[in-house]
Subunit: 166 residues, 2 copies
DNA sequence: CCCGTTGAGGAACGATCGTTCTTGACTGAT
DNA sequence: ATCAGTCAAGAACGATCGTTCCTCAACGGG
């Protein structure tokens, strides 16, 4: 019963992933969300409770979709260069912003971020058959490269040194 | 002539470095700054022009002081492990936040950040006598480790593999 | 001694923030 | 046809944002 929804919740959350992945949390206003999500204010609060609720939904969706897809792709990687290229070419804007900007101020975000990073570590460790600590170092390298906007394939120089090793 | 200042400008900027390095730009209000800097609203705007002006001053101070000190320390590093340890133990909170959160929205910030990262790259390249691209990869790794809050000396696993190389 | 100048101290501004309220449109079941 | 229930639409809320204005205190030069 009741009037049917005029918006698709999944679609709205994915749009929120794009917005929150593009600029800081405080840089995305509720007006921006309403304008770009196709969800009206009232429905937004009815569905997600608050701006933070929507942010958490977007973050979890980002991790469940994009990060999960990255981990699946990593499972097929057989060498360090491939693994590093996969991570650095993935769309992890929201994860990166969440880790640097939100995690220190929101422990629920911090927990999600930490779990996602550990999942990436594990995927790399399994795929390359290397210790988890070394995989974590590779993840850190990939995040650092993403952070710099990947200036001219910085990763290749490193992987050329790493590949003969393992 | 005129009434003498009751605050130390350098001291105020250093306090701003601490505030802006601890949370997001929008998470630090002018009221916070006034409360923690010992500078009154009027003097803040008279001296720095705007909140963004103070932020830029703090960022430049952070780069001129902390990053410069890091580069000097790097000049004395003779192996990869030492270089990586120096960067990951440096206090680069403001640089990290600026790179991820402000740089995409403020090209002046982006320019400062890029210059600082290049300076770190160069310091590592010079100290270890390695190509600039490899040094950039090491910088990226260090930033990634900082981003994760350095969970249990992740860097050591990587440097053990890298050291025999160069 | 008094005047011009500069900073301190707050009050106050308009704008925007996240959130809520009110009203009306649309639905399935009675 | 009517009623209860859900959502759309947008006005409106108090709070807080960055910024400005106004008044008084403290100095140096004539």
């Amino acid at each position: 019963m009741g009037r049917p929804r005029a918006f698709d919740e999944d679609e709205a959350v994915r749009a929120a992933v794009g917005l929150f992945g593009g600029r800081a949390y405080d840089g995305v206003s509720v007006d921006d969300l309403v304008a770009h999500l196709g969800v009206h204010r009232n429905s937004l609060y009815k569905t997600f409770g608050s701006k933070r609720g929507l942010y958490l939904a977007a973050l979890r969706r980002h991790l469940a979709d994009d990060v999960r897809r990255l981990c699946d792709a990593l499972a097929a990687a057989s060498d360090t260069a491939t693994a590093l290229r996969l991570v650095t070419s993935a769309d992890l804007g929201l994860l990166l912003l969440a880790a640097v900007e939100r995690a220190p101020a929101d422990e629920e975000v911090a927990a999600e971020v930490e779990a996602a990073l550990l999942a990436i570590d594990q995927a790399i460790a399994d795929a390359l058959a290397i210790p988890a600590e070394l995989a974590a170092a590779l993840t850190a390298t990939a995040l650092g490269i993403l952070l710099r906007g990947n200036p001219g394939g910085v990763g290749t120089a490193l992987t050329q040194r790493l590949d003969p090793l393992h």
